[in-house]
Subunit: 365 residues, 4 copies
């Protein structure tokens, strides 16, 4: 029940189904006084749109966001910001044969199990379109963080076996790449790999990473609201994500303490770490170095091969999915990762303002 609200002080509530009249989000708790236009959010939404590249679905999604409340004379007022995107190009008829059949790898069966029935058009609430609200709401968090000198940037790190060159990060490349990779060579290889999978009526997975820079040490609330814990929840809540890693992630299981520990050093009077295996978080609190999160994304479950499945009334059948589906989810999920992380960071910063009595007293002096 009531799983569509997220955050403690910066709080996003999303709503909407794939083929309903609209989708949206209500952002509550945004600090008052932020300059905010619809275009500022639209930039983020456009990144989750299919771009006309072969990689992503040819559906035309306009996804124009409207701000319905919470902004006055160009600035946020501190009251809830209601964001709405109308669904303009959904074709329900593509899905009517799915009303009675459970697509493997999708949530059709589990929604029926939970709620007794479901909006079967395009996956309803379990569709990737649900992320429209997340991205719109998280974009505002990213804008606030930018004002505080904090960048939150995500990109595709691998698609199938194609990995980006380590260290080759370039934000402009990410934004220009149809697969959101920071690395033109990897982009080319990934496109070729995806094409081959598509030709084979199959789909592929990948990984994406998010880097957060400029966040000072001291953010995160042990022991259950540790920063890595809240980031993990946020990232794992993105459809198709099956693993979340912080810093060295799974590699720590094979490491030695003597390697994995990040030594501290003073550099020009500033405490730094000479390595960052921890990914910027120690004991659930930011340590002032770059935060690195990695998510593993499963292959698109909608594939154009016959699959074994069952019907609502318990009959075995073979299903061949039709319609328009990306053969890889990662590139469009990158902006979702980015905005979800931004929301978590902003919320943790807001929640942490009273952690020291002296600062609390100063603030209210």
């Amino acid at each position: 029940m009531a799983g569509s609200t997220f955050g403690t002080l910066y709080r996003i509530t999303t709503w909407g189904e794939s083929h309903g009249p609209a989708l949206g989000a209500v952002v509550d708790g945004c600090p008052a006084g932020l300059a905010l236009r619809e275009e500022d959010i639209q930039v983020y939404l456009d990144r989750r749109k299919p771009g006309g590249h072969l990689v992503s679905t040819p559906r035309k999604e306009e996804d124009r966001v409207r701000i319905l409340s919470g902004v006055f004379e160009g600035r946020t007022t501190g009251t809830p910001i209601s964001l709405m995107v109308e669904n303009t190009s959904q074709h329900s008829s593509d899905y009517t044969d799915l009303a009675e059949t459970y697509r493997p790898g999708h949530a059709d069966y589990t929604y029926d199990a939970k709620y007794g029935f479901r909006d079967y058009r395009g996956g309803g609430r379990s569709s990737g379109r649900e992320t429209v609200g997340r991205v719109a709401g998280g974009a505002i968090a990213a804008l606030v963080l930018a004002r505080a000198g904090i960048s939150v940037e995500a990109y595709t790190a691998s698609i199938g076996p194609v990995r980006i060159t380590p260290g080759a990060y370039d934000r402009a490349n990410v934004l220009a790449s149809p697969v959101a990779m920071p690395d033109p060579e990897a982009t080319e290889q990934a496109l070729a790999f995806i094409d081959a999978a598509r030709a084979d009526c199959d789909s592929v997975g990948g990984t994406m990473e998010c880097r957060i820079r400029g966040l000072k040490a001291g953010i995160g609330d042990p022991v259950f609201d540790k920063l890595d814990a809240l980031l993990s929840r946020a990232v794992m809540s993105i459809g198709a994500v099956k693993a979340v890693e912080i810093g060295d992630g799974t590699a720590v299981s094979a490491a030695r303490g003597s390697d994995n520990n990040d030594p501290f050093r003073m550099e020009n009077g500033v405490l730094t770490k000479t390595s960052n295996h921890a990914g910027g978080i120690l004991g659930g609190i930011s340590d002032g170095s770059e935060i690195l999160i990695r998510a593993s994304v499963k292959p698109t479950p909608s594939i154009f091969r016959p699959q074994n499945t069952v019907t609502r009334d318990g009959q075995n059948r073979e299903l061949t999915i039709r319609g328009r589906h990306d053969p890889v989810i990662v590139p469009r999920a990158v902006v979702v990762l980015e905005t979800m992380c931004a929301s978590v960071i902003l919320d943790a910063m807001l929640c942490g303002m009273g952690s020291r009595l002296d600062r609390f007293l100063d603030f209210y002096r």
Copy 2:
């Protein structure tokens, strides 16, 4: 702020530091009528104690739990259950030289950054002893789930390069193994590997897994309180965990949709999946098959080699940690994983009772 409470309807609040007078938890929302004795919880707490094996620290930890409220005539009353474990064998003097120095890989620096100062004795709140409260509180959840026919069982899956034999699961072996492995051969190899690391004044990492069986389809609350999202948050909040995976986890990034999708089939009139790459969760909702969670645990940061670090007042120095420390965290963390997962599952079940109008109306008829 206020990060020590966890859960919506089954809610655990933990408290206590490594070297304070006591640690504990308050469990709020446990259904009334559960038979509950201190011994039932003690069984779980004993599993996180160092067992006298070479693997774990030689500190003597009694960790006797007392139930201070919420139980009357041997049954839970529905009111908060207060659990307390007194700290009986902590030697603060071992730590006094750490008051001014930040241990690499520990939370000393970040606690200072957040709170301005810290209880430096044994890591204070960031110590592994904090898990006493989690285990005690989660043990009660596990007992409730057992009554509902749901088992939640965790074990060590690897220590350094030593992996358990696939499929060799045996609960009795896990409980008997000093490293919590289900597999005697792997246990032997792991012990030898740990001994070698100890002799080298170093520490090692590993992985642990938790399997949840008997949970029906339909549990979990999209889109932010998806079951995998809440499990991830709970597991990542355990100290030293750096990665969380569900089902195939990171392996999905290299998979094809045609392999990764789990086909549905009717078997003896029951809907089943013929594989379980998804790890028992689809769209954030349990699908009725076994739930599999994997966590990667970093090597113990306390190692007995000299390490570079800095002091509170910004001086570079070399630190050699003394005292008693496990060279591997995993074996004692297994029961923490198990009890955290149990808490999440029970909470999700309680939250989901009203998801269908017909069942809600039946319940209140």
Copy 3:
């Protein structure tokens, strides 16, 4: 921060300002399978509209609600229900002279103090129009409760010195009365009283009551989420309410225990109370008898007399408010009281389903 979400499992998030493009609510956690049409909600919204009676403002408010998500084929799906009402007849020009002046009795000054600036048009978020979202969201709760045989009915109990006749309750009269009184004689007197105040360029206060019937014993969660505590919070959050009473309310301070205690008696095999001073709640839990809540509402702060006040830049000035304003708030607030109470009751029922282990085990058997 983030004060616009309400409830634990049945959760309403409202948004919108008096003169923005629209207002609305997102209802999360409504049980799946409820038959729901826009007309079902409209009936409630129409009750908060000014009815053309002299009593309330002559502004034309269409307030047509649209359901944007969460309903499929006429039934709720368990996913968030987004409700929107467009603002069609707001005249911002009426308010421009208020941009720099704080209206006495309004929230102009406190919004500026909190947020640094405010949407001054019609009070912005602090306008009575904010209740559009509450009523729309709470109407759905009332519909669920009706299905469970629980009625939630509010009415005006007094306006200034005019009180309804004790015991003369008649729902049809309430719905027909321009002042929402159950009693035609009182309605006439109240209208005359209001007219006199209006002619005097003044405004008046009153009281409203809500009665909840059909709720079984056992709902409410001590000690902080007691049913009366949550009702009080919900009711006091309605603009202009300054007092909340349960049962005998303030009168208990002058009572004796021998009178105030409600004796229990078995009647036809059913446990009953022979009086109901407690107003249906004992120890924060429903006792099966009628729940009675009373709210005292202050006079409309917008009056057409000159008032002393100050400007944003700290100048004393005299203000005469213009525009269209009800001389009494109570009649239109009655439906707000009713729907807020319905939301609290439904949420408490959902939260309480797991309070007994035996029922929990039965449910998941």
Copy 4:
């Protein structure tokens, strides 16, 4: 379920029953660096003890508080503060005959209805002893507020027909009065009134008030977490409270807008109100003037006259309560009111630190 936690960032979780081994609270989110000794809290707990005066029960309650965590070297560390008070003088035998009988005006029946059975000793969780945890936890909030120049002071305003002299407030008198009245004459009259009721085997009600001074304008989070809404919930959650009023409270229903509105005026360059009918809160946000809350408390339900009631198994019977019971609840509840209000105010202040972007950016610069 899970109703024993309270607050968003300053969060109190209470536990314990009247006749269990102990009661207590966990305070999470207290800013780090507050000087805190057990004696600081004890001062508050002592105020809820029966003082040896005829007014209150002759039971000897030691109620010595212990701090079990969250304080190091005399200062709070920012981690959870666990507070415990052992039950030392409870006589369960006094209550055994109540196991099967529902006391009128008590929660015996409703606890059975909710949980299926109950700890019947002394009312169990529904006992007034539950407030031990509230007072201990709220005392810390009061200490933080005092550091910020904010006073939170409660007192008895009336007992039966005996009212304090308006304006005669004197904190020292309150602390010295056996009935917590600020006014020695009223104290004498109240004691006589109580004695007469006691001689008549009866009990009496009263009112208490809390005044909060020094809080700046701008605290409180519309629309559901308005400051008056959260205060109302907190106050109504105190056992035996049946009405909550802010400022003029119920009197507003008979007022005119021209009287009820508080004019603003600049005085010595400071914005002030020339009256305070609103009780310091406008639109749910503090307006910088004194906040006034009033609570009406019912007569003690335990009276020494025969009362009609029923048994668990549905038999009518006559009950005469024995044991030791205060004939009036108000004097000991005053400190509960005070500490609950302090907790709400501190929490709202912590939650509001990020309400303006400019201040947020300054804070994290």
